[in-house]
Amino acid sequence: METLQKIIDIVAETLGIEKSGISGESSVGDFPEWDSMGHLSILNKVEEVFEISFDPEEMMELEDVNDIVKAVKAKQ
């Protein structure tokens, strides 16, 4: 739960949108700000905050908040 909240915080802060509108199912394309470059910024920030590194192949599969949470947990 804590990881989910942290990811939602990162998404909200990176894209400049309200946390209340973001859920585990929120994904690329759901908000105008969450485009390719927005997605890139989110993943960069997640790597920095959790001190982890995604594999290139893995990054292409991370589409929604739940995907990112799962990938982060697998690396902790």
């Binding site: 394309g29 485009d35 890139l40 960069n44 995604f54 290139p56």
Partner: protein, 354 residues
Amino acid sequence: MAFVEVKNVEIKGLSVAVPKEVKTVKEQPFFSSNEAENFIAVTGVESSHLAPLNLTLSDLCFEAAQKLLIETNTQTADIDLIMFVSTSRDFYICPNTANILQHRLGLKTSCVAIDLPFACSGYVYGLYVAGSLLQSGQLKRALLLVGEMPSKNQSSKDKTVWPLHGDAGSATLLEFSPSAKNSMKFNLNGDGSGFEAIICRQPGIRNYPVTEDSLKSVTIDNGIERNALQCEMDGSEVFAFAIKKPLEAITALAENFQIDIQQIDYLLIHQANKMIDEKIRKKLKLPAEKVPYSMRYYGNTSSCTIPLTMVSQISQSLSEKVNSLIMCGFGSGLSWGAAHIITDKIICLPVIEV
């Protein structure tokens, strides 16, 4: 949606030229090492080709066309139509670049010469327009020259466009062929309400004249600096458009012309970025081997991505057998189109470096 068919026309050969010089994502100053790695992972672009100042898109198309004429054993006198599809014209207002290339290639003065200023959807539109002009048989052969030179109208300090794009020009030889078994099938669309999504605000008549202020670089955001002559892209609007409209166009094309998408040999999607293209591929449930990519080492070359993917990724298949292809181009305009083309042993030349 405009569903249209072109009969009695075949692609005979294809050639693409790129500049020798390469620019890499990792060397871009606005990216840290980790940011560059992630950019490559999400966009699929690692490097692209970059023209020096004195090289134009018409130079690349000239090289591609000249080589193609030789390798297809086509005489210059046999070319009845030359069409230059690009926004990277030699001169923005006039004259047409197609006229310049008609003379430079030594084509006859009775050769019809036309410019079509399309960007990323240009290959699909070019095939439709050139094919339409050939299908009555009054004109027999066309040189379709399609490509873009984004390095000339983008800012190297704009991280939203510069690392993604590359320069490339192509030449396709089309022939009137009354014995052609298959028609070319198209679904063409446009929506000018999104005209500002990808735009160069100057030069042109709307924001005339170009002044000293036009050349002043303005900081838009962190890592985004450009002047009024340089292309700007509204990433959010383009992304929303790109994950929706091309997929709809392909699906509608298949439904209208009763094409089984699973039976095609290749889907050639405009190499916008890998994230967008993979979304389209997965929604169409196509296996990875049916959707080739050229963006890794060439980037997004606008209207040239489809021919560049053909010559760099699937040339053996195109040269040796019949191929059922769906093409889809989409971009500035907004403009988008899908096409079903069946090729039969076309002459597909290796990528030329100029």
